[in-house]
Every structure is written in structure tokens, then in C-alpha cells.
């Protein structure tokens, strides 16, 4: 069995799982199920990254999206409204959303194909991407985007704290840990 064939099989298998999961995310009637299908999609993406030898991105995907973002989504859903069983949160904008999603999908596919079609990635050997290279690139050529994102996140963090903070005097009276 050729390694390439194995890779192909994996790719298409994972791809199929991702597509099904993604479809279920938008069609399922249960918000929690939707979030769990999203986990499937994101894990599939991570698997694809691994197939592309982008290990760092793959683990980052798992750590951040699965381990944090989806957990927070689930957390929020369960804290607020997450009835077990069928709960129809549909509304009349479903067709509109479908159109928007389709357009977005088309645009992104077109851009990606336009930009990268025909590019051969060297996955093994001298020029294979290494984690070190990612680090070096982030902190050299992409340092400005990196910093801007950091500041944006910091602002979001402070904003969240300000919104969540209660300025009640009782808050201070709590006994320290």
C-alpha cells in the first residue's frame, strides 16, 4: 500500500465526515447537538492539518477551538437554554441564511482555488514546514498582524471584564480565598 493512497483515503474519509457534520450543524434542531457536530467538523479540520503535516496548526485547532471555543459555546448554551430533545430555534430567515452561506462558500472556494491551485506542497524532505519556521515567521514578517490581534484580544478581554463586573459594594465583602 502506497503512502499516498493511504493519505488519499484518509483525506476523503475525513472530508466526508466533515461535510456531513457541517451539514448537521445547520440542519439539526437541537443547539447542543449542533455544537457537538461542530466539534466533529473542527476535529476533522485538525485531522486534515495533520495530513498536511501542519501539526502545530492541528494541535492549536484542537486546543483552541475544541478545547476552548466549543466548550465555551456549550457552556453558554447550557447556562441559558439547552433543552434536551427537539426544540425548534428556526426562524423565517433560514432561506436567507442559506443564500448567504452559499455565496460565502462560492467566494471562498474561488479565492482559494485562484490563489493556490496547482501549488505543490513539499511534505517531506528539506523544505518540509517545521514548527520553528512558523514561530520565526510569526515573529518576523507577521509580527504586526500578530500584535494587532493581541491588542484586539486584550481590548475584548478588558471589555468583557468591564461588562461582567458588578460594581456592588457587597462584592468586596467576600471573604478571600
Amino acid at each position: 500500500m502506497n503512502a499516498d493512497v493511504v493519505r488519499e483515503v484518509f483525506f476523503w474519509g475525513v472530508g466526508a465526515i466533515m461535510v456531513i457534520a457541517a451539514l448537521r450543524v445547520v440542519t439539526t434542531q437541537n443547539v447542543v447537538h449542533a455544537a457537538l457536530y461542530l466539534v466533529g467538523t473542527l476535529m476533522g479540520a485538525a485531522a486534515l492539518y495533520v495530513l498536511l503535516l501542519a501539526e502545530f496548526v492541528a494541535w492549536a485547532q484542537v486546543l483552541i477551538y475544541v478545547g476552548a471555543v466549543v466548550v465555551l459555546m456549550l457552556f453558554g448554551l447550557m447556562l441559558t437554554r439547552a433543552p434536551i430533545g427537539k426544540a425548534n430555534y428556526d426562524n423565517s430567515q433560514r432561506p436567507l441564511a442559506a443564500v448567504v452561506a452559499a455565496v460565502l462558500f462560492g467566494v471562498m472556494s474561488w479565492i482559494l482555488i485562484d490563489a493556490f491551485s496547482g501549488t505543490e506542497l513539499e511534505l517531506a524532505g528539506e523544505n518540509a514546514p517545521r514548527t520553528q519556521d512558523i514561530g520565526a515567521v510569526i515573529f518576523s514578517s507577521y509580527v504586526w498582524p500578530f500584535e494587532i490581534v493581541s491588542v484586539l484580544l486584550l481590548a475584548a478581554l478588558i471589555g468583557a471584564v468591564m461588562i461582567a463586573r458588578r460594581d456592588e459594594p457587597e462584592a468586596d465583602k467576600e471573604v478571600g480565598s
Binding site: 447542543v32 501539526e55 494541535w59 475544541v66 478545547g67 466548550v71 456549550l74 447550557m78 480565598s177
Partner: protein, 338 residues
């Protein structure tokens, strides 16, 4: 690196089989140790009957009992999610073992990004907790799951940050590399940074395990067994007992790897090199496990708000400062000291 051939697959399968056999065995040993050590710390004897000699077969008997128990799924539960949740907790636990270097070459898969992989995979089980809690259709379970999620998210940060300190000092994310980069006296060097990072990692690790004194997600006096209230039989084993004990060993192993010099001898004496690294690794991990067992019966359970305060107001700032210090050390420490 990706030259797969048939024999590679076979090796991988054998390795996986070994892991699947050894992890439960180690879990049994650690679980038994937990029973006995905790009992003696509390001036008790612990199990004495099953198996005859000091109750060595207690956990086997327990397991047998759980196998025979009825697997109950509540009528109002979300059956699919309910049955999948133990899997979502159990599988990541086993997956984390794959990268732990037990000896120089004794590792299932030596990954370039071992540390990162470990942290990423172990974060998945949070979803399992949430699934279990939500699908049980039980308020205790839901509250337990929410507590667990809040706690795991909060303590994920100090763990990642303090592990990052170790990675920065070693200059690599590979677990083998981190072990190799450490020199005697492992955790005490560089002065302060290593020890504090170790303590932060350890404290956050205890919380990540949801073990006392950080066991609010399963606080039995408040919410029964938290997210696993409705579980029974084998599902219960695979969702609570097994991951808890296995994770305890794994966290100890990770702490050993990151801070205690992994499979290196405890003191750098020439003749000690003859002892296989696995022995050193086991000894150090056992010591860490003992520390965890020691903490458990000693301290009372914290309150939920105290727990969150401890993470956000103490551990996370501390580890952020540590990262700064570690960076400064790596960049500016005189060459002779490093």
C-alpha cells in the same frame, strides 16, 4: 517522516495494543494505591479483604461488580450523547499516554510537538464532561458539568502557561527534547523559575484532575457525582473512575517529564546510569502520584468562587510573570549559568 509502510502500521498497532493493556493495569495499581495510601493517611486500613492480602484485588472485584451492573440510561436522557460521553472522556485520556517518554526510546510516538499535542488532546475531555452532564437530563449532572467546564477552562491556562515555561527553558516542544534539556538539579534550576513553574503546574494539575480540594464538579455532598450522577455500570467506570485515576498518573508523568528530569537519574552519579530510565521515570511519577494522594485527604474542599479566584487571580498572573522571567533568563542569563 510520513513514509508509511505495512510494518509501520503493524508496529503502531502493537504499540496501541500495549497501551490499551498497560494503561488499565497502571490505573488499577494507582487506584489501589489511592485506596491504601489515603486510608493510612487518615489512620484507617483501607480495603483488607478482597484477594486476601491487604485487599489487593479490591479494584478487580469493583470492576467485576460494575460489569455486572445494569447499564441504565434515563428515559429523559439524550441517548446518543449520553452513551458517547464516556468515550469522549476516555479516549483523550488514553491518547495522552502516547507521547510520554518513559525512557530515551521508550515512547509510543515521539512527536515534534509532543507537549502541545498533550495539552491539546487532554483539553477534549472537557467536552465529554459537558456532554455527560447535559445529556443526563438531571440538574445535578448539569451543574456538575458546568462546574467542571468552568474549572477545566480556568486551570487549562496555568497548565499551558507553566508548561510553556518548561518548553521555553528547554527550547523545544518535544517531550524527549525537554527531558534531555534538563540538567541536574532539574526543577531547582533556573533558580526560582523552575520551582515556581512546577508548583503552578502541580496546583493547576490537581484542579484539572478535579480531585480534592478542587473537586467541586463531583462534590458529593452538593451535587452527588456531578456530571456522572446518572451513569452506572461500565459507563460509570469509563467516565469517572478510569479517567480520574489514569489522568492522575498521566499528570504526574507529565510533571515528571517537564520538571523533574523525566527518565534521567535522580542524581548525576556515573554508576546510576546503569539503572534503566524507566525505573527513574516510574519512581518520580510514583512520587508525584503520592503527592496527589497525600493532598487529597488533607485538605477540605474549596468553594466554587475560591477555586475560580485561585486560578484567575493567583495562578494565571503568576504563570504570566514566570513566562516573562523565563524569557528573560533564556535571553540574558550568562552562558555559564544556563
Amino acid at each position: 517522516m510520513f513514509e508509511l509502510n505495512l510494518s509501520d502500521w503493524q508496529i503502531l498497532l502493537v504499540k496501541l495494543g500495549l497501551v490499551l493493556a498497560i494503561v488499565p493495569a497502571i490505573t488499577l495499581v494507582a487506584g489501589y494505591a489511592e485506596h491504601k495510601v489515603m486510608a493510612h493517611l487518615q489512620h484507617r486500613l483501607g480495603p483488607m479483604y478482597p484477594g486476601g492480602f491487604h485487599g489487593w484485588a479490591t479494584l478487580l472485584a469493583d470492576g467485576l461488580k460494575f460489569i455486572y451492573k445494569e447499564d441504565i440510561i434515563p428515559a429523559a436522557a439524550d441517548r446518543k450523547v449520553f452513551s458517547l460521553a464516556p468515550l469522549a472522556i476516555f479516549v483523550p485520556t488514553v491518547l495522552t499516554v502516547l507521547v510520554l517518554p518513559l525512557d530515551e526510546t521508550l515512547v509510543v510516538e515521539e512527536l515534534d510537538l509532543g507537549l502541545f499535542y498533550l495539552l491539546a488532546v487532554s483539553s477534549i475531555s472537557t467536552i465529554g464532561m459537558l456532554m455527560a452532564g447535559w445529556s443526563s437530563s438531571n440538574k445535578y449532572a448539569l451543574i456538575g458539568a458546568l462546574r467542571a467546564a468552568a474549572q477545566l477552562i480556568a486551570y487549562e491556562l496555568p497548565i499551558v502557561l507553566s508548561a510553556a515555561v518548561a518548553a521555553m527553558l528547554a527550547g523545544t516542544l518535544s517531550l524527549n527534547g525537554i527531558v534531555e534539556a534538563q540538567e541536574w538539579p532539574f526543577v531547582l534550576w533556573p533558580p526560582g523559575i523552575g520551582l515556581i513553574a512546577f508548583l503552578v503546574f502541580f496546583g493547576a494539575g490537581v484542579a484539572e484532575l478535579t480531585r480534592p480540594p478542587f473537586d467541586m464538579p463531583v462534590a458529593e455532598s452538593e451535587i452527588i457525582t456531578g456530571a456522572f450522577t446518572e451513569y452506572s455500570g461500565m459507563r460509570f467506570i469509563f467516565s469517572t473512575f478510569f479517567p480520574e485515576v489514569a489522568n492522575m498518573v498521566i499528570i504526574s508523568g507529565v510533571a515528571t517529564t517537564l520538571f523533574l528530569g523525566g527518565y534521567q537519574p535522580i542524581v548525576p552519579l556515573g554508576f546510576l546510569d546503569a539503572v534503566p530510565g524507566l525505573v527513574w521515570f516510574t519512581l518520580k511519577t510514583a512520587f508525584m502520584v503520592f503527592m496527589l494522594l497525600w493532598i487529597r485527604p488533607t485538605f477540605p474542599r474549596l468553594r466554587e468562587d475560591q477555586l475560580q479566584k485561585f486560578a484567575w487571580k493567583f495562578l494565571i498572573p503568576t504563570s504570566l510573570v514566570l513566562i516573562l522571567a523565563a524569557g528573560a533568563w533564556v535571553l540574558y542569563a550568562p552562558e555559564g549559568l544556563k
